[in-house]
């Protein structure tokens, strides 16, 4: 348990919404990972024209250092879970706060690369991958805003005192 003076008042919606988004990310990433390893599973997606999941998931860019991007995505979202637990949002430990921001920012940088690969190299869009990118983007936005709106307990008590 944290003592009251060592906690932060984060917006109430931060932890549950972030966890929900993280779980959605895990779900989509599991689907993409299964489709990558199990050849009997095909992605429900177009395979012709600009929207072409197969073209994207079978491209040379679908692996980074030999590791499937789908698996990296899954690991990323699993690693995100402890950072978005309510106890982590309440913590005044700057390592957790900054670590969470840095983790989300690293996801965004990777999303930049993946969107670049889709739009500029592969010339096709994978809708399931786009869902992952969107979730990462929303999680980043949520994290930076919730962190900005968080207030240390000492200031809240000061406000209470004034009232």
């Amino acid at each position: 348990m944290q003592s009251p003076e060592h906690r932060v008042y984060a917006p109430r919606w931060a932890a549950p919404v972030a966890l929900l988004l993280t779980l959605a990310g895990i779900g989509v990433a599991i689907y993409l990972t299964i489709a990558h390893y199990d050849t009997h599973v095909s992605l429900v997606c177009s395979a012709k024209g600009a929207i072409n999941c197969e073209k994207v998931t079978s491209s040379a860019q679908s692996k980074v250092f030999g590791i499937p991007v789908a698996l990296l995505g899954l690991a990323y979202f699993v690693g995100m879970v402890p950072l978005h637990l309510p106890v982590a949002w309440r913590s005044a430990d700057p390592r957790i706060r900054i670590g969470r921001l840095a983790y989300c920012a690293s996801g965004i940088v990777f999303v930049f690369y993946l969107i670049y690969a889709e739009a500029m190299i592969i010339k096709a869009i994978c809708l399931w991958c786009t869902a992952i990118h969107a979730i990462t983007l929303v999680l980043f936005t949520l994290t930076v805003f919730a962190t900005a709106l968080s207030v240390p307990a000492s200031l809240v008590e000061l406000d209470d005192g004034d009232d």
């Binding site: 050849t39 429900v44 177009s46 395979a47 073209k55 739009a119 010339k123 930076v144």
Partner: protein, 304 residues
């Protein structure tokens, strides 16, 4: 006098207390104002960073979509003798080797309904692909080897796919003769994505109905209909195995089934062979009872 002195002391005490209280309130107000300003600054930083992220994403997408990929048709030439003979040789010489079926991804799926035959009643293999398409490039090698076990190709071509530069064959303008099956290979567009070979109404219907993934998405290249009993959507192995090679070096690798890409192409060819054996009732026997084909038939038994 004594009363005056007491009043004075009390008055000074209350003035001191009031001053202290006022100072505390001023400090608290200043801290609260500072906290509010910090919060406002943090929110602005958050908004700015989010906006920057959205702008970068938008920029990449807009630039990517506006810069249309210019596909230019690469040279399509008659297959060199070394390539044609390597395919014919691989068709027979690798039959007895046991394939590593684990190398085959995206195995064919079963079809139900009408059998696909040509006008003479022979079971038909319909292939629909595109010359720009790297997945088609990977697929043609094992398909050509499998078909060469049942008949003879003439006028095969070689090229490099305009997308991803995969060395491959082309079925455009080729002919195939067999007493067991019929092969209908259509390259629908060339390397520049320009129309090349037209599908008949029946072929178009098959392509549109079954050319998508098992989950019913829109059709894509390549599509193979094996006699109406099996279909292949997409490639059976990752085309990057052929990156940096030429049609000649791929052809040379076909005899070495112990290493990629020869082993992968052989395993895929055995799977296609096993399917064609199911189409034509197991003829010719020397092909359909070969070690590699029996192993592939067993692997197919588990396919959906």
């Amino acid at each position: 006098m004594a009363d005056d002195s007491r009043h004075d002391r009390q008055g000074r005490t209350s003035t001191k207390f009031a001053a202290k209280k006022a100072a505390t309130e001023r400090i608290a107000a200043a801290r609260a104002a500072q906290a509010k300003a910090n919060r406002r600054r943090n929110v602005m930083v958050a908004g700015g960073s989010t906006l920057a992220v959205v702008l970068v994403v938008g920029l990449i997408v807009v630039v990517g979509l506006s810069s249309k990929k210019k596909l230019s048709a690469t040279a399509v030439v008659a297959a060199p003798a070394s390539v044609s003979s390597a395919i014919t040789s691989a068709a027979t010489s690798t039959l007895s080797a046991t394939p590593d079926i684990s190398l085959v991804g995206g195995p064919p799926s079963r079809l139900t309904g009408a059998k696909l035959t040509n006008s003479a009643g022979l079971p038909q293999v319909l292939y629909v692909g595109a010359e720009y398409c790297p997945n088609c490039g990977a697929t043609r090698w094992p398909l050509a080897i499998a078909l060469s076990r049942f008949g003879t190709f003439s006028n095969l071509k070689t090229l490099t796919s305009s997308e991803a530069s995969i060395p491959t064959l082309s079925f455009r303008g080729s002919s195939y003769t067999s007493t067991f099956i019929n092969f209908d290979g259509k390259e629908q567009v060339d390397g520049a994505n320009k129309p090349l070979e037209t599908l008949s109404a029946a072929e178009d219907s098959l392509f549109n109905n079954f050319g998508g993934s098992p989950n019913g998405s829109t059709p894509g290249y390549p599509f193979i209909d094996f006699g109406g009993i099996w279909k292949q959507n997409g490639t059976s192995y990752n085309y990057t195995e052929l990156s940096g090679m030429t049609p000649e070096t791929v052809a040379a690798s076909l005899s070495n089934v112990a290493a990629k890409p020869g082993s992968t192409i052989k395993a895929s060819a055995d799977v296609y062979t096993a399917i064609i054996c199911q189409m034509d009732g197991g003829k010719p026997a020397n092909v359909c009872t070969a070690t590699g084909v029996i192993a592939a038939t067993a692997a197919l038994a588990g396919a959906k």
